[in-house]
């Protein structure tokens, strides 16, 4: 705590439920007169549990020019501009997201043990002899973690090619056995149904798929993906059987309940039987559930639980996957040991534009290309709202407050606008909470100059700095700020002094019985709510009210 730095946060008023949202088509924001009257009565309590979610540094806030309000991450709407892989920085089209999911399907993987990036390397013997450096390394390839030295060899996975790892990895299980793809399963299933219905099948069909059907038995252990595929196929076939040919002539199959026929039936539910298909009503029978692994049924296997426990006993804690490791896995359900973990394909990241929730104007819009960092639109609060910074008046003094000793702080308001602004600030006499410190603002009303040309600043800087220094030196002797007067003033900034008399943190001297008790979390920090009203005249009248809050060391 010895190096506590005073800070200022801004409160976004979006969580105040008594503010009506601005309706579309309303030309002006809600009139400030009635609103400010309400606001004057109400003081903001930085200790309230909800205050945590409405306090932000100024840099995190946006500003809506139409609502004349700051906008925090909670009162903006995000819209995705681009999806991209954070590792290879390739843009992924939104169509691919829908079909392939939200992970990178190239060769970008994270280590299942430590989440560091994995790199592909060859484990083939390095070529030797003359011109060896010109020979491309040959396979097999493995995924390597350069941080924890994990390798995909540990889970028995090797690759033939150094690229397209995602596709290669999806075809092998841990240990190197190939995964039966849903396509192969479907083939097998169709074949079985053909077998069942028509015993005399075309010979070439069997010979072609003969070796695949060997793998599929009715009690095999399925991984989550193939179980889902089996279940989906089973229920689709059930639906196809249950819903017969519709009005449009589709016969079940892929058109299941989402078919136009089903839709017309649903529409006819309340309007009478005009839309309804009479045949479908009569034929709605019961559907049976999945019965074996081919249909997606997985029986609870008590033996495997015992096996897991035995493994846990034998291999100990270091071979058990941690919660953090399981959290990163796509199908963590049946994983217990680190040998079952799989490399994690990188989750895609997005570039997002932001809109005001109230008026739907765009507040921030990045360029859509992944590699560019420019913004097309960027309305950020620091370019509209005066920044407020706080520092102790006496620089030599240590930052920690001493109970009952008046300590003075300098609040500096810096104006980013090209117009002069009138600032009025107010604080409650004592800070909210159990330990009430007394707070006095020595100069509650002042004007901050416009942010004029930067060149002017540069030219004037030398003289100004000189002035500042003499002022500081003069005040060093008396350390006394005059009430009603600005402490320091610059081209576009003004400093005023706030005096804080911190209270003692001894809970036993508190007045109320119920307040007594040990010091709770963060109660040793003095948090002062400061109401700031900024007025300026631009085209038309622009009133703006912001509640800022300063925290000071204790």
């Amino acid at each position: 705590m010895a190096s506590f730095k005073p800070y200022t946060y801004f409160q976004c008023p979006c969580t105040d439920t008594n503010l009506p949202p601005r309706r579309l088509g309303e030309s002006r924001p809600p009139s400030s007169s009635s609103e400010t009257e309400q606001e004057d009565d109400r003081t903001f309590d930085p200790r309230a549990p909800r205050a945590n979610f409405s306090l932000y540094p100024l840099e995190h806030l946006l500003y809506c020019e139409d609502c004349h309000q700051i906008r925090c991450p909670r009162c903006v709407l995000d819209e995705i501009v681009t999806w991209y892989c954070p590792n290879c920085l390739f843009e992924v089209p939104s169509g691919v997201i829908k079909s392939e999911g939200n992970r990178c399907t190239r060769s970008c993987f994270q280590c299942p043990i430590c989440i560091a990036p994995l790199s592909v390397s060859s484990i083939g013997a390095p070529p030797e002899g003359l011109g060896a450096e010109y020979v491309q390394p040959s396979g097999p390839y493995v995924l390597n973690c350069a941080y924890c030295m994990w390798s995909s060899k540990e889970i028995g996975i090797q690759f033939e090619k150094p690229n397209g790892i995602y596709a290669q990895l999806s075809k092998v299980k841990n240990g190197g056995t190939p995964v039966i793809t849903p396509k192969e399963r479907r083939k097998d299933r169709e074949e079985r149904s053909r077998d069942a219905s028509v015993p005399m099948v075309m010979e070439e069909g069997i010979s072609e798929e003969g070796e695949e059907s060997v793998n599929l038995d009715a009690h095999e252990d399925l991984d989550a993906e193939s179980q889902f595929a089996n279940l989906k196929a089973f229920y689709q076939s059930q639906l196809a059987e249950a819903s017969p040919a519709s009005a449009l002539g589709f016969t079940g199959g892929d058109y299941g309940y989402g078919s136009p026929g089903a839709l017309s039936r649903i529409m006819g539910l309340y309007t009478g039987s005009n839309f309804a298909d009479k045949r479908s009503k009569s034929k709605t029978g019961t559907m049976r559930e999945a019965q074996d692994a081919l249909e997606g049924l997985q029986l609870c296997n008590t033996a495997s639980d015992e096996e897991t426990i035995a493994r846990l006993r034998n291999e100990g804690y270091e071979n058990t996957a941690s919660v953090a490791q399981l959290k990163e896995q796509t199908h963590p359900a049946h994983i217990h040991s680190v040998d079952d973990l799989r490399p994690i394909a990188y989750l895609l990241r997005t570039k997002r534009s932001k809109r005001c929730k109230t008026c739907r104007h765009i507040l921030s819009k990045p360029e859509s290309k992944v590699q560019t960092t420019r913004f097309r639109i960027r309305l950020v609060a620091p370019s509209y709202i005066p920044s407020i910074s706080i520092r102790p008046l006496a620089t030599s003094q240590n930052f920690l407050l001493t109970p009952f000793k008046p300590t003075q702080f300098v609040l500096t308001f810096k104006n980013p606008l090209f117009d002069r602004v009138k600032v009025s600030i107010a604080t409650p006499g004592t800070t909210p909470g159990r330990f009430e410190s007394r707070v006095t603002v020595l100069c509650p009303q002042f004007e901050v100059g416009a942010n004029t040309d930067a060149w002017e600043e540069a030219l004037r800087e030398g003289a100004e700095r000189e002035k500042r220094r003499t002022k500081a030196e003069a005040s060093e002797g008396q350390l006394q700020a005059e009430a009603g007067k600005v402490w320091e003033r610059g081209r576009n900034w003004v400093s005023v002094v706030v005096e804080v008399v911190p209270t003692s943190l001894r809970a036993d001297v508190l007045m109320k019985e119920e307040d007594r008790g040990p010091v709770r979390e963060d109660e040793d920090v003095v948090e002062i709510p400061v109401f700031v009203r900024v007025e300026w005249e631009a085209e038309g009248q622009g009133d703006d009210t912001v509640v800022g809050e300063g925290g000071e060391g204790g």
């Binding site: 840099e59 560091a116 992944v370 960092t373």
Partner: protein
């Protein structure tokens, strides 16, 4: 780099405005490019001697570059810049370390990245692994170990051991990552 002025003080100021501490260790100066207005504090080590092992004759003539640094960079006390190295086609070789503009490196951090983009702020006691690529507008918090070969996309906040992206840089924070003011604040005075 070499135009030393007679003025006594902590920093040697070059013609392009670099402020280099007299107590820094810069090895292989001919292989280092400084874009100008860069501050190098005391006890900073820059290993310009770690060059590519075998230069192809086809490559353009002139002094090879081991470390390239842009403008308004700030290297705090005790940090180290090392070009990354690896075995490629049977040969061990170092590869150039490129640092763009407005890059802040905190005290005692070790940088072995391949590329650090503009407006990157790296905290104290960090390790940036070999061949890491850090794009523009990235903050690496104190004590982070960025693993080798990691790519950090723009507008990320990285922390942890191993480092991972823990947050995003807000739109309004972009201006605050400019290091011009920091450069002006450094001097012999």
């Amino acid at each position: 780099m070499t135009s030393k002025r007679a003025a006594k003080g902590e920093y040697i100021e070059t013609d392009t405005g670099n402020k280099v501490s007299r107590r820094s260790q810069i090895i292989g100066t001919t292989n280092i490019i400084l874009g100008g207005k860069t501050v190098i504090q005391a006890e900073v080590i820059i290993r310009g001697d770690l060059l590519r092992a075998h230069q192809n004759s086809a490559e353009k003539q002139g002094s090879p570059v081991a470390v390239a640094i842009g403008r308004y960079c700030f290297f705090s006390k005790g940090c180290e810049l090392r070009p990354p190295g690896k075995v490629y086609k049977g040969w061990f070789s170092h590869y150039p370390l490129k640092i763009a503009d407005h890059v802040f490196i905190g005290p005692s951090s070790v940088i072995e990245a391949a590329l650090i983009g503009s407006h990157v702020s790296i905290g104290a006691n960090c390790t940036i692994g070999k061949f890491a690529i850090i794009k523009d507008y990235v903050k690496v918090l104190d004590g982070t170990v960025v693993p080798p070969n990691m790519v950090v996309p723009s507008f990320s906040i990285v922390a942890g051991r191993p480092g991972r992206v823990v947050g995003e840089i807000a739109e309004g924070e972009v201006e605050g990552m400019d290091l011009r003011e920091v450069y002006r604040g450094i001097g012999n005075g």
